[in-house]
Structure formats: structure tokens, C-alpha cells
């Protein structure tokens, strides 16, 4: 923190008001594979100092790379010159420390950065998928470690060291009618937690279930969403709960406080507090200890997500969702209930099991209208049984209508990451009634 301490003093000498400095040193690697072979191993090694500075109601976000004293002295002057030219922002302050943080246990495993072991695991996963029906396998295997320190001139001092591993594996099965596929992802703090070989097997098993697929009629279907399939949709609920989204009219929760927005069985929180889950953090971007915030409780919208500035503006308390300069969701969690895949299938007369989606796009963020495209194997459920698979469809829904139509929720909520999602969310299997399914004529 020597550079950060020095820079803090320089900024104060130049009459900055509020200052937050975050120093990050990160290393990560990625093993990329396709057509069942490793293509390339990539490594990234970076350090940066992220800087938030204010002068009155003027605010600025920047980063500094060269941390020698001469450069920091020069940078402090440049930043204050830049900020003096800005107009006032809608800004009300940062958090006052000091704070106590929970234990760091579980955040870090040295094993995550063992690349040799990761390459071996990756090769085993590819073989497992091939042995279980894949004709081609593609994906990435990643590991990272990040060491960060955060300080502010409002008595905040925080630090954490964390690791993360990630596997994304897609099995493709070529057959006479085309190609079917199954995709699984896994995220952990260490290599073992990825359960890489089993995930590879599951991806191949999903793929071969899609071999004999047939067209279905358009219309209303009950949809059973795998976690990977729903994560990119559910995380929009976290985004829409941010006070920033409300202020910029890009939220379906405007004027919805204490109003019914979901079925009684739907409870959704923003929860980055389980250290073992990648995506968790001890503190937010202002250094406020993170907490679990219930956004929707039993179907009723209960809370917008705030940082200190928006909280002061609306005369409430921060929810520890800074985000500089805007409040942001961290990890959106759909709370598990007591159902399972067997019950979901058994209770479905006309439905589909969607294992993955992509390209979720909104026609209106205010209304919450969206469509998304199921990718990989889609199973057809008829009168309580799986009767085949289909392809080439699109799901058309609305965020609030979807939450009101969630009928059953699975028992286990696990962290889920994917190419289509921005954050790591925690989502169980769930079933939604009456979703409009369309396809090109």
C-alpha cells in the first residue's frame, strides 16, 4: 500500500475531497480447446491502481499504472486539473469507515494456479466427453488469482486475496441429421471443486439426448430452466434492482416497492457473502462489508440496491452495492425451494427442458419484455415424461410475468457462470408456466 498511501497524500495535497484507491494485482490463465484438442494456453499478468476522486460534486474515475513517486505526483495534478473542468454530478458521498470484515477463509486456494494440473484435468475432461458420446469437444479451462487492497480517505482499509477456476465445456455430437450439443459450466475457488470430469460427462449426455430432434408447434409451453439457461435472464433482475437502473429508466421495478412482482414462492436476493462461491467479496467498491439483500421476498419487491451516494440521496442506507460511481448487483440468487427435476417433469403436460440459452435481448427494459434463444439440447416433455427433443425455437417472455409464473423451484442453488452472463449468479432449476415459444415459419 506504499504507492497508494503516497498517492492518497498527493491527491489530498491537491485538495481532492473524497478519494478511493484500489490496487489490484492479478494473474490468470486460460487453456482453450476445440475439436477435442488444446489449441493454445494463454496467461495474463496485470496490475493497476483504480482511482475515484471527487471535488465538491464533481467526480472522476481513472486508473494509474506507473506507481513511481514522480509519476504519482504528476498524475495527482493531472487528475485534479481534469476534474476541475467537469460539471457537478448527482453525487452525495462515500462510506465512512472503519469497518470490520468477516473472515477471509475460503476465498483463496493456491491450487487454482497449477497450470500443469489444469492441462491434465482438461485433457481428462475432453476424453471423458468423447467416451460418452461427443464427437467433438470445445471450451475453456481457466484459473486466476487476484490480490487487492482498497483504501479511502474516509477511514477505510480493506484487502482480500481470492482465486477462481472455471470450466466451460461443450460436447458436440455429429450425426446424419446434423449436430446436437450439450454445454456445462462449472466455477469454483480451486481445481477440485470444478468436478471437471463429471461436468464433461454431463455435457456429452445432454448432447446425445438431442440426436433425434424434431420440430414442435409454436404456442405456450411450460419451461424447465437449467441454471445455465436462466442465469443470463435472472441476472437482469439484479440489474433492474440497482437504483442507477431506476434513475436512468432502464428498470422494470420503477415504482414497484412493496408491490407484487412474482409468485409467492419467489424470493430473490443479492448475496455475495459465501466466501466459497466465486463472485463473493468481503466488501464493495467503497469498502463497505457486503451483505445479503433480499430484493424480492415471497413475490413482493422489497429493496433497491444502493451505494452510499444514492442511499444519501434517497435518505436510506447503503446496501453495500457500490459500484463506483453507480450501485451494482453482485451475485443474484434465486432462493431454492423443495422441488426437483422429477417433480417438474411429472407435473408438466406440455413443456420443454431448456439446458442453455443465449442472446437474451430486451424490447423494453421498462416493461421487461425480452426474448431468448435456447441453445444445445432442448427436451420435450409431454404428459409427465420426456418424449424427445427439439431445436430452432425462441422463448418470448417478460421478467415480471416470468416471476409470477414460476411454479416450482429446485432444492439446490449453486454458483453459475457462463459466456452469456456478466456475473456469477446462484440459481437452482425452476419451472415457468405458459411461456410463448415461437420459431421461423
Amino acid at each position: 500500500m506504499e504507492a497508494a498511501n503516497y498517492f492518497m497524500k498527493e491527491l489530498e495535497k491537491n485538495n481532492a475531497d473524497d478519494i478511493i484507491l484500489k490496487e489490484v494485482n492479478a494473474k490468470n490463465y486460460q487453456i482453450k480447446f476445440y475439436n477435442s484438442k488444446i489449441d493454445i494456453v494463454k496467461e495474463y499478468d496485470f496490475s493497476k491502481l483504480i482511482v475515484f476522486v471527487t471535488k465538491g460534486k464533481k467526480t472522476m474515475l481513472t486508473s494509474v499504472k506507473k506507481l513511481d513517486k514522480n509519476n504519482l505526483k504528476k498524475k495527482a495534478r493531472e487528475i485534479m486539473k481534469f476534474i476541475s473542468m467537469l460539471p457537478d454530478s448527482d453525487y452525495y458521498g462515500i462510506a465512512d469507515g472503519p469497518f470490520k470484515y468477516r473472515s477471509k477463509d475460503g476465498l483463496f486456494s493456491k491450487e487454482a494456479m497449477n497450470i500443469s494440473k489444469a492441462i491434465k484435468l482438461c485433457e481428462e475432461a475432453i476424453s471423458e466427453a468423447m467416451d460418452n458420446g461427443a464427437t467433438r469437444v470445445a471450451g475453456v479451462f481457466e484459473g486466476s488469482e487476484s490480490n487487492e487492497k482498497l483504501m479511502s480517505n474516509h477511514n477505510v482499509r480493506a484487502s482480500q486475496k481470492e482465486s477462481q477456476t472455471y470450466l466451460s465445456i461443450r460436447s458436440l455430437t455429429d450425426h446424419k441429421n446434423g449436430t446436437s450439443s450439450g454445454h456445462m459450466t462449472s466455477i469454483s475457488r480451486d481445481l477440485k471443486g470444478l468436478d471437471a470430469v463429471n461436468k464433461a460427462k454431463e455435457s456429452a449426455e445432454i448432447s446425445i439426448q438431442g440426436i433425434k430432434s424434431k420440430k414442435i408447434n409454436v404456442g405456450k409451453y411450460d419451461i424447465i430452466y437449467y441454471p445455465l439457461a436462466s442465469s443470463s435472464i435472472i441476472e437482469n433482475i439484479g440489474d433492474a434492482a440497482s437504483m442507477f437502473s431506476v434513475e436512468t429508466q432502464s428498470s422494470c421495478f420503477i415504482n414497484k416497492l412493496n408491490k407484487k412482482v412474482g409468485n409467492d414462492n419467489v424470493t430473490i436476493s443479492d448475496d455475495p457473502t459465501n466466501n466459497r462461491n466465486p463472485g463473493s467479496s468481503l466488501y464493495d467498491e467503497e469498502g463497505v462489508p457486503t451483505r445479503k439483500n433480499i430484493i424480492i421476498k415471497e413475490g413482493v419487491f422489497k429493496k433497491y440496491l444502493h451505494n452510499t451516494s444514492t442511499a444519501k440521496k434517497y435518505k436510506t442506507k447503503t446496501t453495500a452495492n457500490a459500484g463506483i460511481p453507480k450501485p451494482e448487483a453482485s451475485s443474484t440468487k434465486l432462493h431454492p425451494k423443495d422441488s426437483n427435476i422429477e417433480e417438474m417433469i411429472r407435473t408438466t403436460k406440455k413443456g420443454l427442458i431448456v439446458t442453455n440459452t443465449w442472446y437474451t435481448r430486451f424490447q423494453s427494459y421498462i416493461k421487461g419484455d425480452f426474448s431468448t434463444i435456447p441453445r444445445d439440447t432442448i427436451l420435450i416433455v409431454k404428459n409427465g415424461s420426456i418424449v424427445g427433443s427439439t431445436y430452432g425455437i425462441r422463448l418470448n417472455d417478460n421478467l415480471i410475468r416470468m416471476m409470477k409464473n414460476i411454479e416450482l423451484i429446485g432444492k439446490k442453488s449453486k454458483p453459475i457462470a457462463g459466456w452469456e452472463t456478466e456475473r456469477i449468479n446462484q440459481i437452482p432449476l425452476f419451472k415457468v408456466k405458459n411461456v410463448l415459444v415461437t420459431r421461423p415459419k
Binding site: I38, Y44, F46, L61, K65, E123, V140, K326, R361
Partner: protein, 466 residues
């Protein structure tokens, strides 16, 4: 060391350590960004970044990138990368096509230099835009950013390309309300130029016109009676169509399966070159050499000379987009389509400026010959499957066409169609080309890259609209 010295050092050290092949991309980039919502500045940032990305072949392939440009640290990373590459099981499929080497320096033209405007002058552009448009739409988010990027590309074969590309980018999101009904629209503009482009975009007039028409649509618009109709789309819709359903499926790395677990594969197979999938008047190009364009470059990020690629010619699949890896795999030469968002990422196959070539008709003539149809001027929601076959576009501003004339506004007409159905239905192309900017996402880690997409209005006969 600065980025250029670090690039040279990494190259020389990797060769000294016995690498079979090395290429290096190194950048120094300055960026500024500002965002305003309903007149209040809610984001201001300024940043610089500098670093190198190095790819080495030593039996297998490895890549590293860093912003720590000290000699000893780079030595450590180079040695590690060379060792790492040797440990990977040899994959014979991964080789690079042979290409001519170049030594060149070039830059994009910049009349009003990005560096010549102070932060307050840039913010004034947003404030003036807000002043002119504040009574037009209930919600107004305006964003403005600029970058100045110096890049050097070195290959162990002898290529050395140095470039300077300034860019200016802006987007707006407007939302209008009428009797508790809402409508939203997003649009972005960008150029590899100085601030002279800002004036050309004429955003205030565009926003006022759009807000007015969206309000009228909410007030008087009707839902469409689903059926097979003739559809005329305007350049904004043409742009997204050609980008999604022609540019992406013809990226050779998708065709070969390299993106299978990320952005997906393609319905196009290697043996489909020359296959007719569209009307004979459909010609679509990707061309990074357009001066001032947002996807501008003269040499790609593997040092291959850029050129126009005719992706679809008279309705036939004509050419894939290639980098050196995909070109080798398909037994051809790279056509200069390798791009990396910054020094920190590997170069992969990307679009640049993708557009339909204009035809001979005026837009009015396309409409005049429609008895019962739809005119879609702009869109909001769209998506396409990961093989680039099944796509959907939802109109934001749209009108019915009755007996050759535009009629009542339509509320969100939907086209849901396959790629061959779409292009085969094209029977006439207008001469009114317009380009729009976007940040195209691909790769893992995600690489958002500046592109243009556009073209003229065109007409499709008898497609299903709901």
C-alpha cells in the same frame, strides 16, 4: 520501457530462447468517457493503458500479455510461455498460413484532434445535445467516448506495422411515454477520426425526429395482423441483418468450430463456398479500409494487409473472413481479418465494416411497388441463434404499406426468419447507404471490437411478419 521497446525486447528474447515463431502486439492507448442522463453527468473517466501481448510457437502455442514492462519480468514471462507451449500435446491443425511481410506506418485522418478538446469541451457537446433534445423524450441517456491508440505489430518473419488510430464513439438511449405506454430506442455512432465526426452525426435532429415518431406510434400505432407480407427495411435494420446473418456465419473460425463453446458455430460449412443462399441482387462486403470508418485498419493484427472481402456476391457465399490460423486450416491465404481488442488478447477472426452494397432503386421505389406490406425504419430487440440461422428483429419505428404508400404506424412488428429465407426473399436494393457503429462481442475473454454495419434499404417479398 515503453510499449514499443518492450515489444522489440520480447520478440528478440523469445527468438533467442528458441521460439519457432513469435508475434507481438503492443499498445499505448488514452481514453476518455462521459455519460449523461436527463442533463446530469453521471459518469466521467479518463484512462491510459500500455502493454504487450506475445504469441509464441514452440511445438504447441502459448500467449501471454502484461502491462508490467520491466525487462526481467518480460524475460520471465517469455521463458514460461516457451516452456508452456512445449508441454502441450502437439496439435498439427494449428499452423499459420504463409503471408507476405510488410514494414509500414499509417494513421487514421484526424481533422479536429481528439487531444485538442478539453474534458469540458467534450462535455459541452453532450450538454448542447441535451439542451436541444430535452423536450423531445422523457428519458435521455447520452454517452460520448474517445480513444487514441498507438499500436505496433511485430512478427518473427519480419513484419513491423505501426499505427495511430483515434476514435470517437457515441450512443443514445431514449424512452418516450404516452398514456403509461413506453417505447425505447438505442443507436450508436462511431468513427476512426477526430471530433469532426460528431457534427456529421447530427444527433440532435435524429433524436428529435425519432422521439416524435415513437410517440406517434404509441398514440396511433396498431398491432399487425400476422401474415406473409412484403417488407422494406431501412439502413439501420439492414446493418444489423448483414452483421448478424452474413458477417458472423462467414467467420472461418466459427465454421471450423474454434468458437463452439463461446459465440457458437455456423450453419455454413467449408464446402458451401459458391452456394446460392440469396437473391442475385444481394452483395455484402466487409471492408476495413474505408477511411473514417469505425472498423478502420490497413493491416490486421497479424500484420496481414487489409482488403475488401466480398462475403456474398450475387446471392452466393463468396469468401470467408480469415486470420492466419483459419486460412491455413482451409488451405488458403489470410484476408486480413485478425483483430484483437487490445494488446492483452489474442487476435481472432473479426468483422470490420460490414455492409450490403447499394442497388439502383430509390427507397420510395421499393415502397411504391408494395400492395400490402410493412416498412421497418428502426429496431430495438433482436437475436439470432449460435449457428446464425434463426433470427428475430422487432421494429421500433415501423409503418404499414398500403398500395405503395406508407400508412399507419405499427407497434413492434416481428420478423422471425432463417438466413436463407431472408436473403432469398430480397428482390430489390436501394441506393441510400448509411452506416452505424457497434461493439461486436466474441471470444473468451470477451473481446468487444469497434465495427460499422450498414447498407441501403432493401425489400423482401412475402415473408412472415407478426
Amino acid at each position: 520501457m515503453n510499449y514499443e521497446a518492450a515489444a522489440e525486447f520480447a520478440m528478440n528474447y523469445a527468438l533467442k530462447k528458441g521460439a519457432e515463431f513469435v508475434d507481438v502486439r503492443a499498445d499505448y492507448e488514452i481514453g476518455n468517457a462521459f455519460a449523461m442522463h436527463n442533463g446530469v453527468l453521471n459518469f466521467a473517466s479518463s484512462s491510459t493503458s500500455e502493454g504487450i501481448g506475445v504469441r509464441v510457437k514452440n511445438k504447441g502455442w502459448s500467449f501471454f500479455s502484461t502491462n508490467k514492462l520491466e525487462k526481467e519480468f518480460i524475460k520471465k514471462l517469455v521463458s514460461k510461455a516457451i516452456n508452456q507451449a512445449q508441454k502441450i500435446k502437439l496439435n498439427d491443425d494449428v499452423k499459420l498460413s504463409d503471408e507476405r511481410t510488410y514494414k509500414r506506418t499509417y494513421s487514421a485522418k484526424e481533422k479536429i484532434k481528439v487531444s485538442s478538446l478539453s474534458p469540458d469541451e467534450k462535455i459541452k457537446l453532450l450538454k448542447d445535445l441535451e439542451k436541444e433534445t430535452k423536450n423531445s423524450a422523457e428519458g435521455r441517456t447520452y454517452y460520448l467516448s474517445d480513444t487514441q491508440r498507438e499500436r505496433i505489430i511485430l512478427t518473427s518473419e519480419g513484419t513491423r506495422i505501426k499505427s495511430y488510430i483515434p476514435q470517437v464513439y457515441s450512443y443514445y438511449v431514449i424512452s418516450v411515454i404516452n398514456n403509461s405506454k413506453t417505447s425505447e430506442h438505442f443507436l450508436s455512432f462511431g468513427a476512426s477520426s477526430g471530433y469532426e465526426s460528431w457534427k456529421k452525426w447530427n444527433l440532435a435532429e435524429r433524436i428529435k425526429r425519432e422521439a416524435g415518431t415513437l410517440k406517434k406510434s404509441l398514440k396511433y400505432g396498431k398491432t399487425i395482423k400476422p401474415g406473409f407480407k412484403d417488407v422494406v427495411v431501412a439502413p439501420e435494420v439492414t446493418g444489423i441483418i448483414v452483421h448478424e446473418s452474413c458477417g458472423h456465419p462467414l467467420e472461418a473460425d466459427r465454421v471450423l468450430g474454434r468458437e463452439a463453446a463461446q459465440a457458437g458455430e455456423s450453419f455454413v460449412k467449408p464446402n458451401m463456398l459458391g452456394q446460392l443462399i440469396g437473391g442475385v441482387n444481394v452483395n455484402i462486403a466487409d471492408d476495413p479500409t474505408l477511411p473514417g470508418s469505425f472498423g478502420f485498419y490497413l493491416f490486421d493484427d497479424e500484420g496481414v494487409k487489409a482488403r475488401r472481402k466480398m462475403l456474398m456476391k450475387n446471392g452466393r457465399i463468396n469468401e470467408f473472413l480469415h486470420n492466419r490460423e483459419s486460412a491455413y486450416a482451409l488451405g488458403t491465404k489470410s484476408n486480413g481479418s485478425a483483430r484483437s481488442t487490445s494488446y492483452s488478447f489474442e487476435p481472432i477472426v473479426r468483422m470490420s465494416n460490414t455492409f450490403m452494397l447499394p442497388g439502383d432503386y430509390k427507397e420510395e421505389e421499393l415502397i411504391e411497388n408494395v400492395k400490402d406490406g410493412v416498412y421497418i425504419k428502426s429496431f430495438m430487440e433482436w437475436n439470432i441463434d449460435d449457428k446464425r440461422l434463426n433470427q428475430k428483429y422487432v421494429g421500433a419505428e415501423a409503418y404499414e404499406i398500403k398500395n405503395g404508400k406508407l400508412g399507419k404506424p405499427l407497434l413492434n412488428p416481428v420478423i422471425e426468419i432463417t438466413t436463407p429465407q431472408l436473403y432469398k426473399a430480397v428482390d430489390a436494393v436501394a441506393n441510400n447507404t448509411e452506416y452505424f457503429a457497434g461493439t461486436c462481442g466474441k471470444g473468451e475473454p470477451m473481446q468487444g471490437i469497434p465495427v460499422w454495419f450498414g447498407g441501403p434499404s432493401f425489400r423482401m417479398r412475402r415473408i412472415f411478419v407478426r
